[in-house]
């Protein structure tokens, strides 16, 4: 009896300390091999001047492609030939998904399934077998290997959980000789036929930081709310913003929140107790409402704020009339992989790196997006790009997650 308690106490103690010490076992997309050792090195490590310049330039490029269908548009595309994959008949797609554990991925996943229906009706895709890795690298590697060995797949669609860990598995998929399409987060190999993604994290960081700098004075305080460390797309957002804040003399301080609204509220309350907070910068919009409420509860003036195109933020933005910007990590990219598959099987050229447009929602545009998405739930993303798909708007309103 007593012995049991000793062991149990030790276990509880150990786990409690681990948790409190921040080793949150939430594996979502963190890649320990890439996780930086210390903050000083981190900001240097994640900042990549070449990529920064590339994405900065891409922000102003007018995308090519069909008008009104941003999910088919491309920026600075270098086309590759896909004639060797040309083939008739309905094909089976195999989709290794990192997770659907946040509202952004859920919205995209719903859109993707509606796009699938269109392509099934058109006789392009026979079926899509999907495996959800639930934010685990190991699971996703196993998923990809299962697809390779037993999936009977004609094409692999992969949304990697993390960059480095997924690279060998993606290479194994490429070795089968079948087309591989990677989207959202990247991998460290160019073996896939196409890698689909919006412009990227640096562009997000530049858009948001420039907006805050334009609307604030030198020396003003900005609180940066970040979801978690170690994910390239998120780290790049902050790396760009931090650099620009530094250069502009904005006093920016960053926190990791895990998107937990209680945590966000505490952080803002503490910062407001310390002194005026003029701006809020977020690397993702989840929890934006809690941040704004913290200002309301403290009786402070609304900050200048950048959130995301999540409906909860757009609605609160409109309601409070604050000075805001909603950066966008284009959710409509979830349509593109299946459409790319269609092009590949038709033998049409696709861009080796398919850069999709990514432009923030500004104060002038917000009313339009609010009206367009009126019945959508708070976790919906305004630029989901599914308005012309079957089931619109019911499927998105009811959050029919397949």
């Amino acid at each position: 009896m007593r012995r049991r308690y000793t062991v149990a106490s030790a276990m509880v103690g150990a786990v409690a300390l681990m948790t409190l010490a921040g080793c949150t076992t939430d594996p979502s997309v963190t890649d320990s091999s890439e996780a930086p050792e210390s903050s000083e090195e981190a900001s240097v490590e994640w900042f990549d001047q070449a990529l920064f310049d590339k994405q900065n330039a891409e922000r102003t490029v007018v995308p090519e492609g069909p008008e009104g269908q941003p999910w088919l548009q491309t920026i600075n595309a270098e086309l590759v030939d896909t004639a060797q994959y040309a083939s008739t008949g309905a094909k089976k797609a195999c989709f290794a998904n990192a997770s659907i554990s946040n509202p952004w991925r859920q919205t995209g996943w719903i859109t993707m399934n509606q796009q699938l229906k269109v392509l099934q009706d058109a006789g392009v895709i026979s079926a899509m077998e999907t495996r959800d890795a639930q934010d685990s690298d190991d699971t996703q590697i196993a998923d990809i290997d299962y697809f390779i060995n037993e999936g009977n797949c004609d094409i692999f669609l992969i949304s990697p959980n993390s960059t480095a860990a997924m690279t060998p598995a993606v290479e194994r998929a490429c070795d089968t000789g079948k087309p591989v399409v990677v989207f959202d987060r990247g991998v460290q190999t160019d073996c896939p036929v196409t890698f689909i993604h919006p412009i990227g994290g640096f562009a997000w960081g530049i858009d948001t930081a420039e907006f805050l700098i334009d609307n604030l004075e030198q020396g003003d305080k900005v609180v940066a709310l970040r979801i978690l460390p170690g994910v390239d797309v998120l780290e790049q957002r902050w790396a760009a913003a931090e650099k620009l804040f530094d250069e502009a003399g904005i006093d920016a301080v960053d926190y990791f929140t895990g998107a937990d609204p209680a945590e966000i509220k505490k952080i803002i309350s503490d910062e407001l107790a310390k002194g005026d907070v003029k701006g809020i910068w977020m690397d993702a919009g989840d929890g934006a409402v809690a941040a704004i409420e913290a200002f309301e509860d403290a009786g402070a003036d609304y900050p200048v704020m950048t959130g995301e195109d999540e409906m909860s933020f757009l609605r609160k933005w409109k309601e409070t009339g604050l000075t805001g910007l909603a950066p966008v990590y284009s959710n409509f990219q979830w349509r593109t992989p299946l459409l790319a598959a269609q092009k590949i099987f038709a033998g049409e050229q696709v861009p080796a790196e398919w850069v999709l447009p990514q432009s923030p929602i500004t104060a002038e545009e917000v009313d339009g997006y609010l009206a367009l998405n009126e019945g959508m739930p708070d976790g919906h993303y305004a630029k989901f790009g599914g308005e012309d798909l079957p089931g619109y708007p019911q499927v998105w309103e009811d959050r029919v997650v397949p």
Partner: protein
């Protein structure tokens, strides 16, 4: 004659007693709390303003209430690891079922309380009758609840419930002089704490401690262990439910609300000098442990510790604090017999308790006749027993 002098100690003795209490584990947490609060106020004087301070209490209220619930389970000799996910589940239930319809607030609140009690009942019955260690049962319950929440929401927020319902955690009585606003959370915390203190002093509350101290003697003394144990789990699940209601108001609906609360609560309870394994501890100290933890987090915010190694600093300080409370415990056990906190057991003359502590080896057999008779919060005989436990 001696009794009379003991009842009226001199000022010096009182001060010495107070000092001793403050460095004892039971008091250490209060000392730590005061040190942390003073440090925060020194870094940021506006924190000490009543209107700011009351906001601090408001925000600690959910954690403190969870710690109070966890106290009863721990002092009864078990663990409840499911508390955090109960909080999460309740938050999601409130968000999904109430929606924007304020009329549903009361029925859903009743449903939530019923659900909380049910979770505790299931935990308690499995621990009591299937003899599964609570560590495993509640770990399983934690995963089951998190899985259910994930299934229900797909892992994403669904939208906040009606503002009227959120007022419980977010609003308060406004227009009060000095403190400006008296948040409902603070009122609820005070009520919960008062109930807990009262309950802990009732025979049933003392039975919980006796059961945690020595289940065998508790059983021989006629305790219905299964019911006592089950009720501690129900108390903890219900307190998690109350915390969930406050958090929905304070923060809003998100599947990450409540994450890690079980460990925060356990750490708070241990910081409050409550012994893991049961049998000793004071509920007020457990609540103070929650305040000390949150004060520590706030201090790190104010001190501007960079986010990347903030967690490491937090962890180190918590280890030191818990280690301190553990070592003072041991030191005191070897040294003085009993610090006899005034008001706790005034009827027990210290000299009687003193000789029992020294023969540590024979403690186990000495227990049986002693414990059921005086299931006080700090039965001296148990110390030796606990020492062997800690040392092995």
């Amino acid at each position: 004659m001696t009794a009379a002098t003991e009842l009226r100690p001199s000022v010096g003795q009182r001060l010495a007693g107070l000092a001793r209490t403050l460095i004892s584990p039971r008091g250490a947490v209060f000392l730590l709390l005061v040190v942390l609060l003073v440090a925060i106020a020194a870094l940021n004087p506006s924190f000490a303003e009543p209107s700011q301070f009351i906001r601090f209490i408001q925000r600690v209220a959910p954690v403190a209430i969870v710690a109070i619930g966890q106290y009863f389970v721990i002092v009864g000799g078990e663990f409840d690891l499911s508390m955090g996910s109960v909080v999460t589940a309740q938050v999601v239930i409130a968000g999904n079922l109430i929606g924007q319809d304020e009329a549903k607030a009361l029925p859903v609140l009743a449903l939530m309380l019923g659900f909380g009690a049910l979770i505790g009942l299931v935990n308690g019955l499995i621990v009591s009758f299937l003899k599964v260690p609570s560590f495993i049962v509640t770990l399983g319950m934690m995963l089951a609840l998190l899985g259910a929440v994930l299934y229900w929401t797909g892992g994403a927020a669904t939208g906040n419930p009606a503002d009227g319902f959120r007022e419980i955690g977010r609003g308060g009585i406004r227009g009060i002089p000095v403190i400006d606003i008296l948040p409902w959370s603070v009122v609820i915390l005070v009520v919960v704490l008062a109930l807990a203190v009262w309950f802990a002093k009732r025979p049933f509350g003392r039975t919980i401690i006796a059961l945690g101290d020595n289940p065998t003697t508790a059983r021989f003394s006629g305790t219905r262990s299964w019911w006592v144990k089950t009720s501690t789990f129900m108390i903890s699940s219900l307190s998690a439910t109350v915390a969930g209601v406050l958090l929905v108001g304070y923060a809003g609906v998100h599947p990450s609300v409540g994450r890690g609360y079980e460990f925060t609560a356990i750490t708070a309870v241990v910081l409050g000098g409550v012994v893991l394994g049961g049998g000793r501890g004071w509920v007020v100290a457990a609540a103070a442990g929650a305040f000390a933890l949150e004060a520590l987090f706030t201090l790190l915010n104010f001190a501007g510790v960079p986010s990347t190694y903030r967690d490491a600093v937090q962890g180190a300080i918590i280890i030191l604090a818990v280690a301190y409370s553990a070592t003072t415990f041991r030191a005191r056990r070897r040294g003085r017999a009993l610090e006899a906190p005034a008001g706790q057991s005034p009827g027990t003359p210290p000299p009687q308790a003193a000789p029992e502590t020294s023969p540590a080896s024979g403690a186990k057999t000495d227990d049986s006749p002693e414990t059921p008779a005086t299931p006080a919060p700090i039965p001296s005989t148990q110390r030796a027993d606990n020492e062997t436990k800690g040392g092995s």
